[in-house]
C-alpha cells in the first residue's frame, strides 16, 4: 500500500497540472461562434483562488480580501492538518519542477552523488517574511515570487509567443494549426517586448532543477515558506518504526531534502509529502501517521532581523524609485483600473490580463510606474490597441485592480489621449491625403476630424488637404489610430497617459 502512495501523489499532480493548463489555455475567446459579447471560455482568475500567500499579502497591503481568495482557506486548513500537501500534490509550478527534477535524476551521470539538507533552504522563510514585512508597509511585491503568479506570467508572456512561433513556422499540419488557433492561441498577434526577459527567468528557474531537485520549491518559493510555517504543528507526519536501521535510502530518494531519518533529524516542515521515501525503504519501516511533536524550523532571530532590514531598505528603494503618475506619458492603464496608488498594491502582476487581451494592447511595464510598478499591465499601442467593445481585462482580474466595466461605461472611459505629431503626419507634413486614423476611430462622433486646408503638397501642387485633428473630449485613448498609422516606425499619432488631453477633468 505504502509503495503506491507516491503514485497517488503523481495522479493528483497530473490532475491539478492538467486542470491548471486547461483553465489557463482555455481562457480565450471562442472563435468558432461570433456572439456579440466577448466571453472567455474558462475563468483564469480561479487559478489564484487556492493561493493563500497572495491572499495574505493582498489583505495586508490593501486591507481588503477579494472574494476569490476564500478557497485559499481550504489550503491553509489542509496544510494545518496534513503538512505541505499543496507543494507536493497540487501546485502546478511544483509539478513542473518535479517533472524536470525527475528528468535531471535520470540524466545524472553519478547516481550516487546525493544532495543533503542545506541550511539555505531557510531562504524561503526569509523571502516570505520579507514580502510580508513589505506588505505590512503597504507595498505588495508578492506577485514577483508567488509561484502561481510567476507561472501564469511566464506562460503568458513567454510560452504563448513560443507556441506562436511554432504555429507560424509551417511545420505543423493544417489540422494542428487549426487546433492551436482555436484552443490555445485564439489570436496571432502576440508580442511582448519583454518576452525574452521572462523567458530567461523561466528557463533559469526550470534549469535550476538540474542543480538541485525542486530548487525553486526548496530554496525560494515564499508560498512554500508560508505553508512550511503553517505545517509546523500539523499532527500528521512521516514516521519510522523501530525496525529502521537508519540506512539513509529514504533521504537519498527525497526530492525535498527533508532528511527523513538518516540521522534522526527529519525536517518535517521541508517534507512535501512526495512519498518517494516510502517506496525506497527496503524494510518498509516508514509510515505517515499521527505525531504531535512540532517540526523544528531553525529560523534565527539574527537572520529575521536582517530580513527586516532588507525589507525596510527595499521599502525605501522602491519608494524613492517611484514615479509621479502625471509625469509618466507611457503609463496607460487598462480601462477600469483603480487609482494608481491602490492599483500598485492590488495588482499581483500575474499577467492574466495581458494573456486575455484580444488585440495585444496590454503588456508588462518596465519602469513606467517606477520600480514598484514593474510588470504591471500598461497599454502599448505600438503593438496592439484596446478594442472598443471589450471589457475582458476587468472581467477576469483576480484581485480587482482592474474593475469590471459594462461595455457602455468602458466606451466612455478615457485611458489616454491621442496626439498628432504634425512633423510626421503625412497630410500635415507632405500634403498627402491619408485618412487611416480617422477611419479607424471607433468613438461616435469620431474623436478625429479633418481640417480642410487649401495649400501646396510636397510636389508643389495646390490642392485641398484633409488634415486630421483630435477632439480631446471624445478621445478615449484606445490607440487604434497609433497602431494603424502608416508612418509605422514611429507613429505620427500617439497616445500619452493624460486623459482628455488635459482639456476636460
Amino acid at each position: 500500500m505504502k509503495r503506491y502512495s507516491r503514485y497517488a501523489r503523481l495522479i493528483f499532480q497530473i490532475f491539478f497540472l492538467t486542470l491548471f493548463l486547461y483553465i489557463f489555455f482555455n481562457s480565450i475567446i471562442d472563435n468558432s461562434v461570433f456572439s456579440l459579447d466577448l466571453q472567455l471560455k474558462s475563468k483564469i482568475e480561479y487559478i489564484f483562488a487556492i493561493d493563500p500567500f497572495v491572499a495574505l499579502t493582498t489583505l495586508l497591503s490593501t486591507y481588503k480580501l477579494p472574494s476569490i481568495f476564500i478557497l485559499s482557506a481550504v489550503i491553509i486548513l489542509l496544510t494545518m492538518i496534513f503538512g505541505r500537501l499543496f507543494c507536493g500534490w497540487i501546485c502546478p509550478f511544483g509539478t513542473i519542477h518535479h517533472f524536470l527534477s525527475f528528468i535531471a535524476q535520470k540524466l545524472k551521470r553519478d547516481k550516487y552523488e546525493k544532495a543533503e539538507y542545506s541550511k539555505y533552504q531557510n531562504l524561503k522563510y526569509y523571502t516570505f517574511i520579507a514580502i510580508i514585512f513589505l506588505s505590512i508597509m503597504r507595498i505588495n511585491v508578492s506577485g514577483y515570487l508567488d509561484p502561481l503568479s510567476l507561472l501564469v506570467k511566464c506562460l503568458a508572456i513567454f510560452f504563448l509567443p513560443v507556441v506562436l512561433i511554432i504555429y507560424n513556422s509551417n511545420i505543423l499540419s493544417v489540422g494542428m494549426q487549426d487546433f492551436l488557433f482555436n484552443n490555445i492561441l485564439a489570436r496571432d498577434n502576440i508580442y511582448y517586448e519583454q518576452a525574452a526577459l521572462f523567458g530567461a527567468v523561466f528557463v533559469i528557474l526550470l534549469g535550476m532543477n538540474f542543480y538541485r531537485n525542486r530548487f525553486w520549491c526548496k530554496y525560494i518559493c515564499p508560498l512554500g515558506g508560508m505553508l512550511s510555517l503553517i505545517s509546523k504543528y500539523s499532527p500528521l507526519k512521516l514516521q519510522r518504526k523501530a525496525k529502521c536501521t537508519s540506512c539513509g535510502l529514504c533521504s537519498d530518494s527525497c526530492y525535498a531534502d527533508a532528511m527523513p531519518f538518516k540521522k534522526d533529524n527529519f525536517k518535517s516542515s521541508e517534507c512535501m509529502l512526495l512519498f518517494n521515501c516510502l517506496s525506497a525503504c527496503p524494510l518498509d519501516s516508514l509510515y505517515y501517521g499521527l505525531k504531535m511533536k512540532p517540526s523544528e524550523i531553525d529560523l534565527s532571530k539574527r537572520a529575521t532581523v536582517k530580513t527586516l532590514g532588507i525589507a525596510i531598505s527595499s521599502f525605501f528603494i522602491i519608494k524613492t524609485g517611484a514615479k509621479a503618475v502625471a509625469k509618466s506619458p507611457q503609463l496607460i492603464r487598462p480601462p477600469g483600473s483603480i487609482p494608481e496608488q491602490e492599483f500598485l498594491k492590488t495588482c499581483i502582476r500575474c499577467g492574466a490580463c495581458m494573456k486575455v487581451c484580444p488585440e495585444n494592447f496590454l503588456t508588462p511595464s518596465l519602469f513606467e510606474s517606477g520600480i514598484e510598478g514593474l510588470w504591471t499591465p500598461v497599454g502599448n499601442a505600438d503593438y496592439g490597441y484596446c478594442i472598443y467593445n471589450c471589457n475582458l481585462c476587468g472581467k477576469m482580474c483576480p484581485t480587482g485592480a482592474i474593475e469590471e466595466l459594462s461595455i457602455e461605461e468602458k466606451q466612455k472611459t478615457a485611458i489616454a489621449t491621442a496626439f498628432i505629431d504634425e512633423n510626421r503626419c503625412l497630410p500635415h507634413t507632405y500634403g498627402i491625403d491619408c485618412i487611416v486614423c480617422e477611419e479607424h476611430c471607433p468613438t461616435s462622433p469620431k474623436a478625429i476630424y479633418f481640417n480642410e486646408v487649401r495649400e501646396k503638397d510636397h510636389k508643389g501642387e495646390l490642392k485641398v488637404i484633409k488634415k486630421p485633428k483630435i477632439n480631446p473630449e471624445q478621445c478615449i485613448g484606445c490607440g487604434i489610430c497609433q497602431y494603424r498609422c502608416p508612418v509605422t516606425d514611429k507613429s505620427a499619432i500617439y497616445m500619452t497617459s493624460i486623459k482628455h488631453g488635459g482639456v476636460k477633468v
Partner: protein
C-alpha cells in the same frame, strides 16, 4: 502514340486555334457590359432577381466548385449603419451558390477593427453560417505573398482563398469613403489582402485598380439596400444612411461601381480610380455604353 514531334505540332496547332478563337470572342464581346439592377424591400428577393437577370447563378458556378465570397466586413458596426454588407444579402448569395451546386463556400474578410468584434457585430458570419458557409477569421498563415503585377503594388500578402478558389463572388456594400470618395466592388479587394494596409492609402486610387485587376471576381453583387451617403467608410450615425433597397450586379466591376456611384450621387467621371480603370480597359464607366436591365420586385 504521342511522340515529341507530333506533340509539338499539335501544340502549335492548338495554340494558333485558341488564339484565333480567343481573338474572335473578344471581338464578339465588344458589346456593352451588362448590369442588372433590381429593387425590392425584400432584400433576398432583390438578390435573386438581380442574379437571375444575369442568367442565374448556374451560369457562373459549376457543380462542385469551391466558392469564396467576399463581403465588406471591415468595421465593428451593426448592420443598420451600412458600414458593412447587409448580412441578408450575403446569406442569400451563399444560398444561391449552394443551389447552383457549389461544394464549399467560404466567407471571410480581413477587417480593420478587431476581427472578433467585427465578425460579431456585422452579423454576416452568423447569417452565412446558417446557410452552410464556412466563416473564419483570417490568420497570418492564410496570407501568401503574391506578385500582383500592379503599377503600384507588386509583391503583397494575399488572402489565398480569394486567389485560389474556383469562383470568387464579390459582395460589397456601396458607401461613401472619405479618401477614395466611393467604395464598392473595386475597393472591396483591400479587404482581401494582408500586410500593412495603411501604406496603400497614399496612392489609394492606383492601389484599388491594381487589386481589382489582380482579383478576378466571377460576379459582383453590390449591396445598395441601404447606403452610407457621407462620413464613410465607417459611419456610425443613422442620419447618414439612406434606404435604397437596390442590388446592382454585374461581371464588370467598373460598370457596377460607376452605377453605384450614381446611386450615391457622385459623378463617376470625378472618381479617380474608376477613370484609371476605364483607361486601363478594366471595364466601362460611361453609362451610355452599359446595358442596364432593371426590375422592381
Amino acid at each position: 502514340m504521342i511522340n515529341r514531334r507530333g506533340f509539338i505540332k499539335n501544340a502549335a496547332i492548338a495554340c494558333v486555334a485558341l488564339k484565333t478563337a480567343a481573338a474572335s470572342s473578344v471581338f464578339a464581346e465588344e458589346k456593352k457590359s451588362k448590369v442588372a439592377i433590381s429593387e425590392s424591400s425584400n432584400h433576398k428577393a432583390a438578390v435573386r432577381s438581380a442574379v437571375a437577370m444575369l442568367g442565374g447563378m448556374g451560369s457562373f458556378i459549376s457543380p462542385g466548385d469551391v466558392v469564396a465570397v467576399k463581403p465588406n466586413m471591415a468595421w465593428a458596426r451593426e448592420p443598420q449603419y451600412a458600414a458593412n454588407t447587409n448580412p441578408e444579402v450575403v446569406a442569400e448569395v451563399v444560398r444561391l451558390c449552394f443551389e447552383a451546386g457549389a461544394k464549399k463556400v467560404y466567407v471571410t474578410d480581413n477587417p480593420c477593427n478587431s476581427a472578433r468584434s467585427v465578425y460579431a457585430m456585422t452579423r454576416i458570419p452568423e447569417y452565412a453560417q446558417k446557410q452552410g458557409a464556412e466563416v473564419f477569421i483570417p490568420q497570418n498563415r492564410h496570407y501568401k505573398d503574391m506578385d500582383l503585377k500592379g503599377d503600384f503594388i507588386e509583391n503583397w500578402p494575399v488572402l489565398e482563398h480569394f486567389a485560389t478558389a474556383d469562383k470568387v463572388i464579390n459582395v460589397p456594400v456601396a458607401k461613401h469613403h472619405s479618401s477614395s470618395q466611393l467604395t464598392a466592388s473595386m475597393k472591396n479587394w483591400i479587404g482581401a489582402v494582408g500586410g500593412f494596409r495603411g501604406a496603400l492609402h497614399q496612392n489609394l486610387h492606383q492601389a484599388i485598380v491594381d487589386l481589382a485587376t489582380f482579383f478576378k471576381p466571377t460576379l459582383n453583387i453590390v449591396d445598395c439596400t441601404r447606403v452610407l451617403m457621407s462620413n464613410g467608410p465607417t459611419g456610425g450615425s443613422l442620419n447618414d444612411v439612406k434606404q435604397l433597397n437596390k442590388i446592382i450586379a454585374s461581371t464588370d466591376q467598373v460598370a457596377v461601381d460607376s452605377l453605384s456611384a450614381k446611386e450615391l450621387g457622385f459623378n463617376p467621371a470625378t472618381i479617380k480610380f474608376l477613370q484609371i480603370a476605364n483607361q486601363k480597359g478594366l471595364g466601362i464607366t460611361n453609362e451610355k455604353d452599359i446595358n442596364i436591365v432593371y426590375e422592381k420586385v
